[in-house]
C-alpha cells in the first residue's frame, strides 16, 4: 500500500475516535451536571409556593428502567437552559414516550378525575413511582402481580380517604379480594398467574362497570374472565346443564351473576346439583334419616329468608354427588362452615368451644348451636339469636348456673348470667335496649372464646384493657399510660386490670355508693399498708362511717390515669396537688396540701412529730387518770366509813327523839292518875 493511502486511513480513524470521545462525554456530562445539585439530600425547591425536597437518589435511578435516559429526556423544559434552572418546573409528561398508555389513562376514571382537578386522583407516579421506576417483571415493582393489590389498596382499601370521600360502589374491596379464591392464590400461595386488580380492570383503561367499554361491563366481563378461564363455557354447558346457563330464553348470564366481584370463592356446584333437586325429597315433612331416624325436613321458605338465601344447598352440603340416585347418600361429614367462613373457622378451632367439639365432647357448641341451621340470620336482624339483645339468653342456654357448661366448671365465676343481668351492662342491654352495650361476645369474642388463663384470650389480664378499650377507648388510653399498665414493669408483681376494680360480670356504675365504698377495699388488697394509714386519717375514718363524699383513693390519685407523684402530669405532682385538694377544699393552698394524707402516729421514723405528739398526749391522759384514779380509790373506803357513821348518828338521834316522846307520855299518865 502506498503512503498516501495509509495516511488517509489513519486520519479517518483519528477523526472517528475524536468524535466518539466527545459525544460520550457530552451525554455523561449532562446527567452529572443535574446530579451536582440534586444528589444532595438536603436540597429543596418550591412548587406552587410550597417548599419540597428535590433530592434524587442516584443509586435508585441507576437501577430503574430509565437508567439509560438523560434527565432532560423527561424534564424537557430544562433542556438547553442555563443552570441552575428556575423553580416551578412543569410536571413531567410521560405521554411523550408512552402515548398509548397516556391516551387510555386520559379516558379512564382516573384520568377524568385528574382533569376535574381532583387532588385524590392517581397520576403515573402514584402507581409507578418517579425516579425509581421498575419493570413490572421485577418482583419489587409496585406494578408486579404480587404488589398490585397493595398499590391499588393505597386508595381502595377500606378506611382510606378515597373510600370515605368518593362514591365507590363496592365496599371492603381489598379485604374481600384477599379472602377470595383469587386473593388466596395470589397472596397466600404466590401464584403470580392468579388474577390481580389489573387483570380484570386493566392497568390504564379503568372504567365503571356501567360503561359498555369497560372490561367489567356485562357484555365484556365474559371476555375478561375467559382470558384465564378459556374453556369455561364448555365446562358450564356440560356440568350445569341448560337449566342454569339460560334462565331466560336466549339471555346468557354474566359471570358476576353467580360469582360476586371481589368475593369470588370456591364454587361447590356439583354436576347438575340444583336446589330444586334437593327439595324434591327434603320438602316432605315425613322424610327421615335412615341412620338415626331424625327428621330431615327443610322448610325452604326459611332458607330464602335467611342469610344464605343466595347460597345453594350443595355449597354447604358439599359432599353430595349428582351421579347417585340419591345424591346425599355420599355425605359422611357434618357441614363444614369454614369452607366459606375460613377466618372465623380458624378462630373457632382454637377456641375452647372448638377444642371441646374436636374431642367429640357433647358439651361443645358447634356453629348451629348459636347460629342455627337453615334459618341462619345476620347479627343485625332482631330475630337472630346473635342479635345483641339475644346473646345473653343464647349463652345462658349453657352457661346459666345449673346448665351443662357450669356442671364441670372449676373456675371462680358462678351465676354468670344472673350477675350479668344485674350489672350495668346487663341493665343497659336488656332493660334499656341499648344494643351498643357490651354483651358476652364483646368481651369474650364470638368465635375465639378462651379461658382467661390462656394468653391469647381476650379476657386474659394482659389483654383485658384492650378488650374493654374497644368501647371505653379513652379510658384505655389513660390506663395504658398509668402505673398500672402491664408494660410498665417493676418487680414482676401482677398489676390490676379492669376487672380487679370493676369485677367481671357484676360490674356496676362507678358513681353508685356501693361501688365508691368497695373500691377502697379493692385498692387495699395490694396497697395494704397505705390503705391502713388511709383509715387512720380523717378521710378514711369518715368513709368507714358510710359517707361517700369524702376523698377516697381515686379522688386524689385518679382512677385510670394514676401516675407516680414524680410525674408532672400526676394529680399529686408538685404543680397539680393543690388543684386536686381544691376539688373538695375550695380554699386550699400550698400549705394546706402539706397535710399528711397517709400519716400514722405508729411510725416514729416516718412521722416523728405525730409519734411524739401522740405519746405526749397519751402520757398526759394516763397521768391524769392515774392521779384521779388513786385519789378516788383512797377516798372510797373512807367515804363508806363516813356514811356508816352518819347513819349511826341518825339512828341515835332518832332513838333519842323516841325516848323523849315516851317520857312525855309517862308524865301525862301520872297526871291523870
Amino acid at each position: 500500500m502506498d503512503k498516501p493511502t495509509q495516511f488517509f486511513f489513519k486520519s479517518i480513524l483519528f477523526v472517528l475516535f475524536f468524535v466518539l470521545f466527545f459525544i460520550g462525554k457530552t451525554v455523561a456530562q449532562e446527567n452529572s451536571e443535574c446530579l451536582t445539585c440534586h444528589e444532595d439530600k438536603s436540597a429543596t425547591g418550591t412548587r406552587k409556593g410550597k417548599t419540597i425536597s428535590v433530592f434524587v437518589d442516584e443509586r435508585k435511578l441507576s437501577h430503574s428502567v430509565h437508567q439509560s435516559l438523560s434527565c432532560v429526556a423527561c424534564h424537557s423544559d430544562v433542556e438547553g437552559k442555563e443552570l441552575p434552572h428556575e423553580d416551578d418546573l412543569k410536571a413531567v409528561n410521560c405521554g411523550n414516550c408512552h402515548s398509548d398508555e397516556q391516551t387510555q389513562h386520559a379516558k379512564s376514571l382516573h384520568g377524568k378525575a385528574i382533569q376535574r382537578g381532583d387532588a385524590l386522583a392517581p397520576k403515573c407516579s402514584d402507581c409507578h413511582g418517579n425516579h425509581e421506576i421498575l419493570s413490572a417483571s421485577n418482583s419489587n415493582s409496585p406494578t408486579s402481580p404480587l404488589k398490585i393489590p397493595f398499590t391499588c389498596g393505597k386508595c381502595h382499601q377500606e378506611g382510606t380517604k378515597v373510600q370515605q370521600q368518593r362514591e365507590i360502589h363496592q365496599d371492603h374491596i381489598i379485604e374481600n379480594f384477599s379472602e377470595s379464591i383469587h386473593g388466596e392464590g395470589l397472596l397466600r400461595k404466590g401464584l403470580i398467574v392468579a388474577p390481580n386488580c389489573a387483570s380484570c380492570h386493566t392497568s390504564h383503561s379503568i372504567l365503571p362497570h356501567t360503561d359498555n367499554n369497560s372490561s367489567i361491563s356485562r357484555n365484556k366481563i365474559a371476555n375478561t374472565c375467559t382470558k384465564c378461564h378459556a374453556q369455561i363455557e364448555q365446562v358450564h354447558r356440560k356440568i350445569i346443564k341448560g337449566e342454569l346457563w339460560e334462565k331466560q330464553a336466549h339471555v346468557l348470564p354474566a359471570c358476576v351473576d353467580c360469582h360476586q366481584p371481589h368475593k369470588v370463592r370456591k364454587v361447590f356446584y356439583s354436576q347438575g346439583m340444583a336446589d330444586s333437586d334437593c327439595m324434591r325429597c327434603h320438602d316432605k315433612q315425613d322424610v327421615k334419616s335412615t341412620k338415626d331416624g331424625r327428621s330431615l325436613y327443610v322448610d325452604f321458605t326459611h332458607v330464602k329468608q335467611s342469610k344464605h338465601a343466595k347460597v345453594s344447598c350443595s355449597q354447604c352440603h358439599s359432599e353430595v354427588n349428582a351421579s347417585s340416585v340419591r345424591p346425599c347418600e355420599t355425605i359422611t361429614q357434618k357441614v363444614d362452615c369454614a369452607s366459606c367462613h375460613a377466618e372465623v373457622g380458624t378462630q373457632y378451632q382454637k377456641s375452647m368451644h372448638g377444642q371441646l367439639t374436636a374431642k367429640n365432647d357433647p358439651n361443645g357448641p358447634t356453629c348451629k348451636e348459636c347460629h342455627g341451621e337453615h334459618t341462619v340470620k345476620g347479627k343485625t336482624d332482631p330475630t337472630s339469636p346473635i342479635f345483641a339483645t339475644n346473646i345473653p339468653n343464647l349463652c345462658a342456654e349453657c352457661h346459666r348456673e345449673g346448665e351443662k357448661a357450669t356442671r364441670k366448671y372449676k373456675g371462680s365465676q358462678h351465676e354468670i348470667i344472673e350477675h350479668y343481668t344485674e350489672s350495668i351492662h346487663g341493665k343497659g342491654l336488656m332493660k334499656s335496649g341499648l344494643t351498643v352495650t357490651a354483651t358476652c361476645t364483646n368481651c369474650h369474642t364470638a368465635h375465639n372464646v378462651l379461658p382467661k388463663s390462656d394468653s391469647a384470650s381476650s379476657v386474659n389480664p394482659d389483654n383485658l384493657p384492650k378488650t374493654c378499650g374497644n368501647c371505653h377507648h379513652g379510658i384505655q388510653e389513660q390506663f395504658e399510660k398509668s402505673v398500672h399498665a402491664q408494660k410498665i414493669s417493676d418487680n414482676g408483681k401482677r398489676k390490676p386490670v379492669c376487672n380487679d376494680c370493676h369485677t367481671a360480670h357484676t360490674i356496676k356504675r362507678a358513681d353508685e355508693q356501693g361501688f365508691k365504698l368497695e373500691i377502697m377495699q379493692q385498692c387495699g388488697r395490694c396497697h395494704e399498708e397505705i390503705t391502713e394509714t388511709y383509715f387512720d386519717t380523717y378521710h378514711g375514718k369518715v368513709s368507714q362511717l358510710g359517707y361517700t363524699k369524702t376523698a377516697k383513693c381515686y379522688d386524689c390519685h385518679g382512677a385510670h390515669d394514676i401516675l407516680p407523684v414524680t410525674d408532672p402530669k400526676s394529680h399529686l405532682s408538685h404543680d397539680n396537688v393543690v388543684g386536686t385538694c381544691q376539688k373538695c377544699h375550695e380554699g386550699a393552698n400550698r400549705r394546706f396540701a402539706g397535710y399528711l394524707t397517709h400519716a400514722t402516729h405508729h411510725d416514729p421514723e416516718k412521722y416523728p412529730l405525730l409519734f411524739w405528739t401522740f405519746w405526749g398526749m397519751t402520757s398526759l391522759l394516763i397521768g391524769t387518770f392515774v392521779f384521779g384514779g388513786i385519789h378516788t380509790l383512797l377516798w372510797l373506803p373512807r367515804a363508806l366509813q363516813m356514811k356508816r357513821e352518819m347513819r349511826q348518828k341518825a339512828m341515835m338521834k332518832e332513838k333519842e327523839q323516841t325516848e323523849q316522846l315516851d317520857s312525855t307520855t309517862k308524865k301525862e299518865g301520872e297526871n291523870n292518875g
Binding site: K541, L545, Y547, N589, F592, F614, M617, L621, F625
Partner: protein, 279 residues
C-alpha cells in the same frame, strides 16, 4: 332554830345551773359525735352515725355543740365581769379572795389533810366554799376549751389556718383534739362523776347542781368552814330558800339519770374500742 322552818341553803344561782345544764347537753353531743369518728372502725360508730342521720349530720351536731360550749365559756367570763362590778372588788381581790375558784395555800393544806384522812392518820378536813377537787374540775374545763377548742377550730377551717400553719399541723391538731377529748370525756364520766355524784354519801346522784339547793344539815356536814363563817357573820338567813316542789325534783332526777347513763355508756364504749377493737 334555823332548821326548824324546812328551808334549804341556796348554793348555786339560776345562771350557774342553766349554764351547767347547757354544758351537759353540748358536752354529751360533742362526745357522741366525736367518738363516732374516732372509733369509726367499730360497729357502734356506724350505728350511731346513722342515728344522727349520717356522718354529715353528725358533723353539724358536733359543730353546733361546739358553738354552744364556747357560748357558755363567754357567758361565764361576762358573769365574772359583772360580779366584779356588783361586788365592787378589784381583780386581785376577786381572783385571790377567799371565795375565789383560784387555787391557794389552803387548798394544799386541805389536799394533804385529805390524804391523811384517807390513810387514817388524821381527821377529815374542814372544807370551805370551794374544795380543791371542785377547783380542779373547774380549771379542767378551761384547759379543755382552750386545747380542744383551738385544735377544733383549726380542723373546722383548715384552709384558713393553713394560710399561717403548715399542712402537717392538721395531722398534729387531729391527734391533740382527739386525745384531749378522750381525756376530757374519760375524766368527766369517771373521776368527776365520783367526786360529785357517786361518793357514798351522795350516791346515786347529787341534785344540788340542778336545783341549787341542799339541806342545812347536809351543808353543815359538807362545808363546815363555810357554815361556821356564815353563822358567825349572821348572813346565813340570806341564803335560805323554799325547796322545789316534788314534780320539779322528779324531772331533775330523770334528766340527771339520763346524763349519767349516757356518760357511763360512753365510758364502756371507750374501754371496748381501746382494748378489744383497737387498730
Amino acid at each position: 332554830m334555823a332548821n326548824g322552818n324546812g328551808k334549804q341553803f341556796l348554793r348555786f344561782i339560776r345562771l350557774n345551773r342553766v349554764l351547767h345544764i347547757v354544758m351537759i347537753v353540748s358536752f354529751m353531743s360533742l362526745a357522741l359525735t366525736g367518738m363516732t369518728l374516732k372509733f369509726s372502725y367499730t360497729t357502734w360508730a356506724v350505728i350511731l352515725a346513722h342515728l344522727f342521720g349520717g356522718f354529715e349530720s353528725a358533723g353539724y351536731v358536733h359543730r353546733l355543740a361546739a358553738v354552744f360550749m364556747f357560748g357558755i365559756f363567754v357567758a361565764h367570763i361576762v358573769e365574772l365581769f359583772k360580779m366584779k362590778k356588783r361586788e365592787d372588788k378589784t381583780w386581785r381581790k376577786l381572783i385571790f379572795g377567799p371565795d375565789s375558784m383560784m387555787f391557794n395555800r389552803n387548798d394544799l393544806k386541805e389536799f394533804i389533810g385529805s390524804i391523811k384522812w384517807f390513810l387514817g392518820k388524821g381527821p377529815r378536813p374542814k372544807f370551805g366554799r370551794w374544795t380543791y377537787w371542785e377547783k380542779f374540775d373547774y380549771f379542767a374545763v378551761f384547759w379543755g376549751i382552750f386545747v380542744i377548742g383551738s385544735t377544733g377550730l383549726t380542723l373546722w377551717f383548715p384552709e384558713i389556718f393553713t394560710l399561717v400553719l403548715p399542712g402537717y399541723f392538721l395531722n398534729i391538731a387531729t391527734i391533740i383534739h382527739s386525745d384531749e377529748a378522750l381525756l376530757a370525756v374519760g375524766f368527766i364520766f369517771t373521776v368527776h362523776f365520783f367526786n360529785t355524784h357517786l361518793r357514798p354519801e351522795k350516791f346515786p346522784m347529787d341534785l344540788v347542781v340542778f336545783t341549787g339547793r341542799m339541806d342545812l344539815e347536809e351543808f353543815k356536814h359538807d362545808k363546815p368552814a363555810e357554815y361556821e363563817a356564815l353563822v358567825k357573820s349572821g348572813e346565813l338567813e340570806n341564803y335560805l330558800v323554799e325547796p322545789y316542789q316534788p314534780i320539779v325534783i322528779k324531772a331533775v332526777r330523770v334528766f340527771g339519770y339520763t346524763a349519767l347513763t349516757v356518760g357511763f355508756s360512753i365510758v364502756i364504749w371507750i374501754i371496748y374500742a381501746m382494748l378489744f377493737a383497737y387498730r
